[in-house]
Subunit: 932 residues, 2 copies
């Protein structure tokens, strides 16, 4: 107040109205404001939901008049309510506003007990007990008695201290109390606005132990309760307004306050009575313009342009373009040898300690569980596929070990520990082709692979030291979305393919008739002795075998024939797999959505049910599976620590098996692997590091690539699969670590604060993955279809955040039902559709290529997407692209210059517009020559 530069405290406003309760007068809390209004529901005896205070214009004008005519006491030295009341009444009398003989009556009324919504209505002031309940005569009671009432004390009462509402009020808050009452001894209103020199706790005046700074008192003659209440709501709303409260703190006199009201009126938003029902409570908006925004002069200009403004020629054009998608200084081209890597290390080192201790949070547990399950699912799936593709040179065991090793190293030393390394599709395809090539040409696969890995590692280092990650800058939303949609589609299609596989693996006997059960059997028939059994007869005496006791596998093994109509069918398992798969998926989706329901407190709903939704679904369907007791395919976890193939060890020797020139020639396939790894890794990193994730600890593209390179070499030596960043799981990792503000004022939306950036969850996930080899007894209860359900969920969930996907949905919506996306406001629908179509075509081409042998050049195709994006510059205007995509770097600059120029032009056209709205409401600038 003394110093103009200190920020003013937040104001909590409580409005009390004078009521007759059991014949006694008392002040009853009727509404409160932290930022939004909460009303006491008279009948419901509860707080209403926080809502926007809708006022009548009338009440605002009446308030203005009140402030013009009432007494204003600024910087009053106040230490207790009775003394303050005395001062107020003295001033009123001195100003000639009330007759001196009313002094005691007014004091009496103002010192009545305050009852807050937290208390039950039985309480009465001590002084009033035992008196007659005749309200009319209460004024005749000697005022000195009323001073003794118990709620006028300097220390906060236990009721106040116990009030849980306190945590919704900022620490520095000060209270403003609005007292509104009707009395029968006044014939004109008694209005007083008081600012205390120091915020003082005035006993039970306020429901929470917050010191009072402001007092607004309005007492008036009977018959206008509603008007008085509306005035009270108006001043209360003004007091919590950031700009007006500033004015109230700094006002030197009455005129400053009036000017504050006028400024408020100037900014006010008006709803026409025919288009809005005043009884509707308006929910607090997601975002409210900040005080700074409102304060800024520029903004005053903008205010004219309301949401519905029918912008004219200039109006439509000068809306700012969307904030450009910036990649930050991490991707600057330093021009020095390893400059980027050095900067990355310098950037990450200071965060290292916090990277550990920031991980100690309850949320980490759910994140670890979630990502761990995703990782082992991935490890098992890719392990199985790799085992298939390489005749078990790399199998599930190698996959687990490699995932654990690579993941742990990356999370400990990497630039962006939120990234999760995993096997990816393109690498799987490369390995498959490489193995086939080796086998067909008699080359040793493991040795060749080692050399490719080594070359690739060196190439990565080369990319690191030359700051080559710089080119990622040319990747826009178009490319990113193409890439991540493709990965999502792969997840979804893999999950579905696996399920279709189950139908083939467990064929259903469709023609089964329960009544003819006697006709279904499967018998093992001994082979003809003479024929194929000569091999087995060396070992066994086939006639000794009881053929009918053999299992299916044994029967086949010993050359028996399976005869019967039920041999090729497996009952129940296909359908059960489907139920588990689809059940896990839909339960996860439903539990995730539960966050938006109204049930249970927010904490339970969000932290427990939504965050652990995948875990709960898995548990639930594992339980169902155990209950059913069917022999569904279960997770197979290696239990012994040894390579999957017995003819290989844990180390691959670099020399000896292949001709020497292969050591050099492997440079060429290595190049392909390098491009693949580079693209895969860096696109995922860009997606993870996106601005909207609000990462604060910076990233390290060069450092990441360095470690991926190192791991390439290590994994190649140990014969483990190669690892790069996996988009979907990394995004899931980030999502599970998102932080939101505890919403402060009631009704305010919790803000997304950022991600819990740390290395602990990642490290734990991979240590657990490593230990999973020993968790086999537990993990083996998890049916595979449940894990495929999780896969499907991950794919679908990562699609849902993509703008491309939102735009595809637009095709199915008639224009008038389309959501109000900002790009739709600025880009014609047919252009939006065209842009989406281009993306769809690109994706379709990529998808087709992916399914052919060209899959190996998949990363190169991503480069192709960047070329397509460049070509789009020819079809779409930069304006449209800015809304639908991002501007490419050089264009960006140009655009900005254009913008600047435009702004300059505009300034010269409307030099006065900045000052235009500023000033009093009453000076009608359009017609300033005429008095209003």
């Amino acid at each position: 107040m003394d110093d103009d530069n200190t920020p003013t405290p937040t104001i909590f406003t409580e409005m009390d109205t004078l009521q007759h309760e059991g014949g006694e007068l008392e002040w009853k809390e009727s509404a409160r404001w932290v930022k939004f209004e909460e009303k006491v529901e008279e009948g419901g005896e509860r707080w209403s939901k926080p809502h926007v205070s809708t006022l009548t214009l009338h009440s605002l004008f009446e308030l203005r008049t009140c402030l013009q005519t009432g007494s204003i006491l600024l910087d009053l030295e106040g230490y207790s309510l009775p003394q303050i009341v005395d001062d107020i009444v003295d001033r009123q009398i001195a100003d000639g506003l009330v007759a001196p003989d009313l002094r005691e009556k007014i004091s009496f009324v103002l010192l009545r007990k305050h009852r807050h919504q937290t208390k039950k209505p039985i309480h009465r002031s001590l002084a009033d007990i035992g008196k007659s309940s005749n309200t009319a005569s209460s004024e005749s009671v000697h005022p000195s008695q009323s001073r003794s009432m118990n709620d006028i004390s300097d220390t906060p009462s236990t009721d106040q201290l116990k009030n849980k509402f306190m945590k919704k009020i900022p620490r520095d808050a000060e209270a403003s109390n609005v007292l509104i009452g009707e009395v029968d001894f006044l014939d004109k209103p008694f209005v007083s606005f008081v600012r205390l020199a120091q915020a003082t706790t005035l006993g039970g005046l306020t429901e929470v132990p917050v010191p009072t700074r402001f007092l607004f008192i309005l007492l008036g003659p009977h018959g206008k309760t509603k008007s008085y209440n509306e005035i009270g709501r108006a001043i209360a709303t003004l007091m919590v307004d950031e700009l007006f409260s500033d004015v109230a703190y700094k006002a030197r006199d009455r005129d400053d306050l009036i000017a504050g009201v006028d400024e408020f009126l100037d900014e006010v938003i008006v709803l026409p009575p025919g288009e809005w029902d005043p009884k509707i409570r308006i929910e607090p908006p997601k975002k409210v313009p900040s005080a700074d925004m409102r304060k800024s002069v520029l903004n005053l200009n903008e205010l004219g342009q309301m949401n519905g403004s029918a912008g004219g020629a200039a109006g439509g054009e000068d809306e700012e373009l969307p904030a450009p998608h910036e990649l930050g200084e991490e991707l600057k081209f330093t021009g020095r040898f390893g400059g980027g890597l050095w900067l990355d290390i310098k950037r990450k080192i200071p965060w290292y300690c916090s990277d550990i201790y920031d991980g100690f949070h309850i949320q980490s547990i759910s994140a670890v569980l979630f990502i761990y399950l995703g990782c082992i699912t991935n490890a098992i799936t890719f392990g199985g596929l790799l085992g298939d593709a390489t005749d078990n040179y790399q199998g599930v065991m190698e996959s687990f070990l490699g995932t654990a090793l690579a993941g742990t190293v990356f999370c400990v030393f990497g630039g962006q520990p939120l990234i999760i390394l995993s096997s990816t599709g393109p690498i799987l395809i490369f390995e498959k082709l490489l193995y086939e090539f080796s086998k067909n040409n008699g080359i040793d696969y493991m040795e060749l692979r080692l050399w490719i890995g080594l070359h690739s590692c060196l190439q990565c280092f080369l990319l690191v030291v030359t700051d080559a990650s710089y080119i990622i800058k040319y990747m826009t939303r178009f490319t990113e979305e193409g890439f991540s949609s493709l990965i999502s589609f792969i997840f979804i299609s893999d999950a579905i393919k696996k399920m279709i596989g189950a139908w083939k693996y467990y064929p259903i006997n469709r023609g089964f008739k329960p009544d003819y059960i006697t006709a279904y059997k499967c018998e093992c028939i001994a082979p003809d002795q003479g024929e194929s059994s000569f091999f087995f007869s060396l070992h066994f005496n086939l006639t000794d075998l009881d053929w009918s006791q053999l299992s299916k596998k044994e029967c086949v093994k010993y050359g028996g024939a399976l005869v019967g109509s039920s041999c090729k069918y497996v009952p129940d398992l296909a359908l059960m797999s489907f139920i588990l798969f689809f059940g896990t998926y839909s339960m996860t989706v439903s539990l995730k959505k539960f966050k938006f329901s109204r049930y249970f407190p927010t904490k339970v709903r969000q932290k427990l049910i939504s965050d652990f939704s995948i875990f709960m679904s898995i548990m639930c369907f594992v339980g169902l599976d155990m209950l059913m007791g069917l022999d569904t395919p279960k997770l197979i976890v290696p239990t012994e620590f040894k390579p999957t193939r017995s003819d290989r060890g844990w180390l691959v020797m670099p020399f000896g098996k292949n001709p020497w020139w292969w050591y050099v020639a492997s440079f060429v396939p290595a190049l392909l692997v390098t491009i693949l790894i580079f693209m895969d890794q860096q696109i995922s990193a860009v997606i993870v590091n996106r601005k909207e994730n609000k990462l604060k600890k910076g990233c390290g593209y060069h450092l990441d690539l360095f470690w991926v390179g190192v791991l390439m070499a290590v994994c190649s030596f140990m014969g483990l699969p190669w690892y790069v960043a996996a988009t979907v799981i990394s995004i899931a990792h980030i999502d599970s670590l998102k932080m939101e503000s505890e919403s402060s004022a009631p009704g305010e939306q919790p803000q997304f604060l950022g991600v819990r950036e740390q290395r602990l969850t990642g490290i734990l996930v991979f240590v657990l993955t490593g230990l999973s080899i020993f968790l086999a007894p537990i993990l083996q209860y998890i049916p595979m279809p449940v894990l495929y359900g999780v896969f499907l969920y991950m794919g679908v969930a990562s699609l849902s955040g993509i703008q491309f996907w939102e735009r595809i949905k637009l095709y199915l919506m008639p224009p008038k039902h389309q959501p109000d996306f900002s790009f739709l406001r600025h880009v014609p629908l047919r252009r939006v559709h065209l842009f989406t179509l281009v993306q769809i075509v690109c994706l379709a081409v990529l998808w087709i290529l992916k399914s052919t042998f060209l899959a190996i050049i998949f990363p190169v195709m991503i480069l192709g997407l960047m070329v397509v994006r460049k070509l789009l510059d020819l079809i779409f205007s930069q304006h449209d692209l800015a809304w639908l995509d991002d501007i490419l770097p050089d264009k960006d600059k140009k655009k900005k210059e254009d913008e600047k120029k435009k702004k300059k032009d505009k300034k010269s056209v409307e030099p006065e517009s900045d000052e235009e709205v500023r000033g009093k409401l009453w000076s009608m600038d359009l017609f300033s020559q005429q008095p209003f």
Copy 2:
């Protein structure tokens, strides 16, 4: 305009702004209003969604100043735009507002071509083609040329006529055109408000062929585009305001208009700038206060009490109670013999024709399909159960025939043809007990049943002629909800029980190991020849049989033993049944919800997908079932027209089989049946006739009961089951026939208009049910689990509309997340919870009783509910009950009297309050002694 009593036409407002397009000046449509604002999205080249016009207070004051200073031309004789423009400019010159030398420039600008959002920007006025595109010089063009522009004609252009938007504008609408522009030759604003004597089509001025009545022109110097636009939006918003447009039509002079603006300002709703972002477009509210409401003096008083108003002592109390639940005059006690029945007939006869032809509507088809499927499901289920209970004296065949007969008769002659008759649970239980009693006591069941039916029929007639349905009046929401929740729970539990039955009927072999398939078999072993087979040996030579070729049933029949580990298991069917059941249910729910999505035009979404959701789900899962080809349990429809039991005919003889005194004694059980039928029938009727269904053709409680009685007798004679109104299917019938208004103004919510009341759908449903005997070849493809899924859906759907259910959900919600139900605003939460708890306990007791032998007195228990409700009067205040339930009839009266008295009291306290807000905004009544 001439006659003060005729309603003024609706106004359509179009706002055009002056723009430079390709160097030419033209008027471009920038926004339009029917009731809400639609803005042209500049970039998006589309209409925005309709939204509430948020204005700045500033612009409203500027508009007020404009009307004070500009020229006002009321009742101008205008036949073409050029002539009108001439008159406007003349007046301005005459008033000395513009210099005469500007006449031609202004006319030129005002006669520029108008481009509407429907057209592409290529159009130019004919006169402008071939001219230089120098905009600055455009003023020098001779004005006479501009008169020739093609869009100033008296007949509407094809563009206008083709505009589909026309159907959103009421027929009697007149246009108000707002023209806003910046020009460089003016140094102060040129403002004109014109009302034409007759609405005139002014060529291409308006986008739709609506004649123009009002013109508002604002031209001003450069640099204030936004201010001008905001003023334009303000007048446009005012013009579509019902009260202001009335003022505009009737204004005699400028002062009337200003007074209109002031009245508007007086009612305006204000949002504080710190709590609302002006950029948010506010969606139109569900309901807007009507103009009459706003006009009424009382309302002006109420206006003070805004949604968030912190009502004081009186404020909280005087909110009106909810509208009492009225049953209408149909249930009045006439006191005459059959007076009610006579009134019912008199009431229904005039509607009879419309009852037929109102049925010819596309919606009827979906309703018929839906209800038909529900009916046959019911017929089959109850038929099956009845057959079980009565040793097939009444089976599926009787059930189909009875349903068809009773339903058709009732729909043709009944008082409320929307009610669907069906077998119900209580009757089933009665029949079961009766059959057991007859069998144990050697009494002929069919004959006894006939006599009970006859007695019951007579008793019904007695109830009809004495107007006994009158007592239904004492049934409140409490009783209705108890009854219908119970019925819903029975539906749900039956559906689930049936599904659990499937698991027992098709046991799954849980221990099945695919590998040991060879160990699973089921063989039919011939019985020991000496023992049990002596009976069969009379017919067959058992040794001739190939036992291994016998089916399961045959094997059992011939006394063979089923040996093997797979005998007692049935593969796949249980799981498949579950998938079909749950799939049908969830698909129906999802499709119903699809109505609220954004995809596809509203028509497709609502009429096709949502209305046919049950049919589509059934089709879909029948298809899936056929695709799988599994032997799931299918719907069994009788194919031959004969009684289920071969030893009974289609007619039951009344005499001969039982002792004569039974003919009299059956009076006692008949009484039970009568109570049962009366309660079941009338409660369903009350629920169907609820006020919220907005039925217009009246109902006929007595007539309904009369026909139910007649059908009792007929069905008893034919040995068919007895039928009463079925709550769930009747509600489904009503829901499928609901009509909604085609939303008129964009953004206005479609209103629920009522139900398509007719007899056709009901008749068709039952005729189809009768014909279903011949539809067997098609119907037999429907698997039973699909129908159980539909059952489950019907149970859940009928629960969802019940307030009781909403209150149960409140238990799980923390208070701050609870929805804003009006009863929560007025009744303390703990009272609400207590009330709900009482209901839950009552229901639990009913549920338990229903499961015992007491089920037969189920209808009497409903009477018990009414007693409980009466007792609630002792625990709850009438105020609370009015919100949570309804007031009982006598209490209702008392309450009303109390209310009246209260109101009177209040009036005497605040005699001036009615006039209080009326009047000018500027007269601050609080401080009327002080000038503002």
